[in-house]
Symmetry: D2
Subunit: 337 residues, 4 copies
Amino acid sequence: MIRVGIVGATGYGARELLRLVLAHPEAEPVAMVSESAAGQQVSDVLPAFRGLVELSLESFDAASLAQRCDVVIVGVPGTKSAPFVRDLHETGVRVLDLGPDFRLKDPALFRQYYKVDHPAPELLSDAVYGMAPFHREAIADARIVAVPGCYPLSVIVPVAPLLDAVETDIPVVVDAVSGVSGAGRSLSEGFHFPEMNEDLRAYKLAVHQHTPEIEQALGNRALVQFTPHVAPLTRGILTTITFRPRQSFDVASAFRRYESEPFVRVLGAGRPAEVRYVRGSNFCDLGWVWDERTGNLIVVSAIDNLMGGTSGMAVQCMNIMFGLDESTGLLAGGMAP
Amino acid sequence: MIRVGIVGATGYGARELLRLVLAHPEAEPVAMVSESAAGQQVSDVLPAFRGLVELSLESFDAASLAQRCDVVIVGVPGTKSAPFVRDLHETGVRVLDLGPDFRLKDPALFRQYYKVDHPAPELLSDAVYGMAPFHREAIADARIVAVPGCYPLSVIVPVAPLLDAVETDIPVVVDAVSGVSGAGRSLSEGFHFPEMNEDLRAYKLAVHQHTPEIEQALGNRALVQFTPHVAPLTRGILTTITFRPRQSFDVASAFRRYESEPFVRVLGAGRPAEVRYVRGSNFCDLGWVWDERTGNLIVVSAIDNLMGGTSGMAVQCMNIMFGLDESTGLLAGGMAP
Amino acid sequence: MIRVGIVGATGYGARELLRLVLAHPEAEPVAMVSESAAGQQVSDVLPAFRGLVELSLESFDAASLAQRCDVVIVGVPGTKSAPFVRDLHETGVRVLDLGPDFRLKDPALFRQYYKVDHPAPELLSDAVYGMAPFHREAIADARIVAVPGCYPLSVIVPVAPLLDAVETDIPVVVDAVSGVSGAGRSLSEGFHFPEMNEDLRAYKLAVHQHTPEIEQALGNRALVQFTPHVAPLTRGILTTITFRPRQSFDVASAFRRYESEPFVRVLGAGRPAEVRYVRGSNFCDLGWVWDERTGNLIVVSAIDNLMGGTSGMAVQCMNIMFGLDESTGLLAGGMAP
Amino acid sequence: MIRVGIVGATGYGARELLRLVLAHPEAEPVAMVSESAAGQQVSDVLPAFRGLVELSLESFDAASLAQRCDVVIVGVPGTKSAPFVRDLHETGVRVLDLGPDFRLKDPALFRQYYKVDHPAPELLSDAVYGMAPFHREAIADARIVAVPGCYPLSVIVPVAPLLDAVETDIPVVVDAVSGVSGAGRSLSEGFHFPEMNEDLRAYKLAVHQHTPEIEQALGNRALVQFTPHVAPLTRGILTTITFRPRQSFDVASAFRRYESEPFVRVLGAGRPAEVRYVRGSNFCDLGWVWDERTGNLIVVSAIDNLMGGTSGMAVQCMNIMFGLDESTGLLAGGMAP
């Protein structure tokens, strides 16, 4: 059994991770850290887990966690995880970071998009980007894995195989719509139920921090116009990607590289993805239409932002790190309904 | 009082129209036609209107309607309204058509996108496109007004003033997200509540019938890549429009043409529109961001698809046709919540 | 034109009231008070009203309001309105209070349920309970009208005509389900969208402050077991009332007293009410089933909690106070969809 | 590995069952029957399972299923499962029926509530009611298990331990609110998204077929006034149970019988259950308030209607039948969010 520690245990990413670890046949939660709720029972703070978890929430103590855990997964808000990761890394325990602090390789970009200096730039080169379909060998040996963001996954998976057809200097237009759980559990007027229900909005136009993460993962071979939106549902991201390929090519062939990927489902031409078929699963679905009239290729992908995009990918990385079958504990189909 | 007849009275567009006419100080419903429910009381078929409407639903009889009505508004599904409109037109009564049959001027495009021959091509030149901000003089005298579609309005209003900056042969990317009422009241598996709730999907990529309507209204000066989506809300459309202007220009100045438009609200730079502030109102809100990094301009608009996009615009046209203040009966603010 | 002042202008009740006053042919908003946002434009704080209201939010000044307004409507949270009402009342201006401070006649009950001493018990006898179907003569002359709560309206209207059949000492079971706007705009974890969406819960069992309001309005002739619930919708209350009548009687006859009520719709036996047909309207719909097997009568009522239950009733009272037709400005049918 | 056959594979209950069986470490789906879609790939008809299931849908053949399966689970609409169950039973294979056909022991009640004669009354005495907390020994040996309905489970679990306090001839008031998946996948106007979203309604007052199932399971020691409601969410049931106990007693003690139940969570006094903490789990949560003013006890329970109430309970019964730990494959915590 892999002994798993979770830091930032009350956040949405960590909750979903706990749900997955509890159902995982080869892993178990052994320590849960929450600075704000230390001392309380997990089952009191997170009633969904009553009857399943006997642990108390504890304060952060890297040495103690290292002694009891085979891996520690950190799920705290952006710009806050680096100190935890550094302290844990120094003990030698392996670390998965659900947050963005170790995804960007360039500290200048981090500063530009996150508005603070990177707290541990010396570790950036050690961290492996946890996008399993592209980096599984590096993940297997990694000491620090930076789990991809939810939006980036929904863009990188569909675009990476098509890069040869992308004009480098013409923006690829990415309009993504997310469920509200992606915004986390912090209260704000815009996510108060009567405001968000029956609403649709776009936000952070031109400045969203996932833009450089996507471009970096695509080898800076695409200029990405990323516009995130939020819609009144809890889970899921639907991403619509539009660009005019520089030459004709066989899209289905380009996606054949995913044939043996356990969690990428290539639906085919004329079959855009839908959130309902991936909700509650670790899948990234994708399909496309090539519009002959305009010359544009439109690819539509769907993920469950808490599963495929964050916690599910973290478990997939953990499976790789510990030599398990990658899909262990992740075989749930989509919930529809 | 303007005596209003409504044909296709049980559809969603007609229901909203009835709601508006009932609250209108200078109009009243005098005849409601429904072939499927003729003979029944309006208040039995549409319980929302119990206590407000004493009419019975009746079969279609153009001559009888013409005698009793000052204007007849037709709200039946696409490709079905033309025969009603023709028969009414022949009696001399003025007609507003909520459907698409008289929007496209080119019968070949109608055939391409609607898959049937146009039932009354001889009337196409008589019909005026009921987009009040651009055609109010023609609407004032029109015998047949083709009320714009909901998606088209959300694209035409924000794009029309910017056309000088649009490269004619590079597609403008339009990703629009609609509430489900836009799909009408016909039952289908995809709109069954447990399937649609918590879902997001794109549909009719590259073939949506509103594409030529938008391009025609923009004088065929833009190539539009229109991708409609549906999200789990009842009312509202949020439309995100992305293109790279061919030169720098002052966006706010371009939108100054709407300064005295009663139902276009230009929110400004950095202020993308939201559905919550237009729900239940006749407004089209719009705001924008110019991304210096990519060179793209992104404009986001919002409407209530049943109000601003269909029935509200129909009432606005009716007000123009009968010499009333354009905003009569349409002064409701957005419902938030 | 009735000149209307609104105190507490940013709350949900006041927003809805503003929406109604703007559409009202004989009333207009002339002053809007918000302590927290004084000095700002209404249209900046409440973007839904941009283009419709030119006012700035102002600080509270009773004398100034009295000079400019024919009536002032106070919409601030419970236990906070009494000082405003008192100051306004002293100027002689007529006051409508959307909150609960002047509904209970017994200050001891107020203290028991609201946990504070009543701030102005000397005014309780002057205040008229603004339940139009029962108190329209008193409302016509009232200086202070305490507008009923949303839940109470949904119970009092269906139960009042049946009181002769109610056993005084056996609790009438009232299970009511509300949309989330009823909880107001204060942020809390439970109303954060990802928590509330797809959730159902009961709350304040046995201690909800609307219990004594309902019992008082029913002349203390019924013992009410009121259990409120919240469901993931924005507007609407559905109330299910169950009791075993002490004798057989003709329910339809008992409800005949509402025949000429403009906003009570008696649907009949076997026709329980639904929220969709009253949303956006001022109606209270009701229907019932008498279960011969158990001897129970079950009455189901539906209202839009922001309209029928609060702001709509306030406008109805205002119409009565100023000698207008009661339904002026309130003729909208339900929104379905 | 338990080889599982599923009949009625495209219904909502069967889909959820398939999801659970796929994630179950000791069971696997080996045959899936759908008369309407026989011959098609499961992954084409149910895209949520693409990549996880290689089976084709097949026509019903009892003998063939019996040869390949250790257990067959039937999930077809009420009144339709009996012929399938009978044919399967005759082959000797063990059968779990998700539907209601074998729950009521009295064929006269079946006829009264389901409006048809029972198709196989001779098997009623063989069928065991699959309510694990009460019948696990009988389930272990059963050849036919009638899995409880979703509403009944949410009532029986909270009420059964309290029966000594229930007055037999005074109705216990049960107001239950369900998500829409409980209504199945058949299309109807009332469950069309724009009609159901933002709606609340009660239905089948006094005649719902779960009434006799509940009363039978409670040994006919309670008269149940069951009023079901539907709210705009996909999954979940919240049930509010109100009655006046005939004597004072210790509620917590009465519920101590569930201390070692794996899927009943007794939250305690003052802690009514919520759907968000059971969604996606097999738990039935319950809590209560005793109102001293009225003498009423109010118990509130919550389940995921597709899990705790139907498919999860079926898997729990299967685990019992095959000698596994009861919670195998069912250890997921609630999804919140």
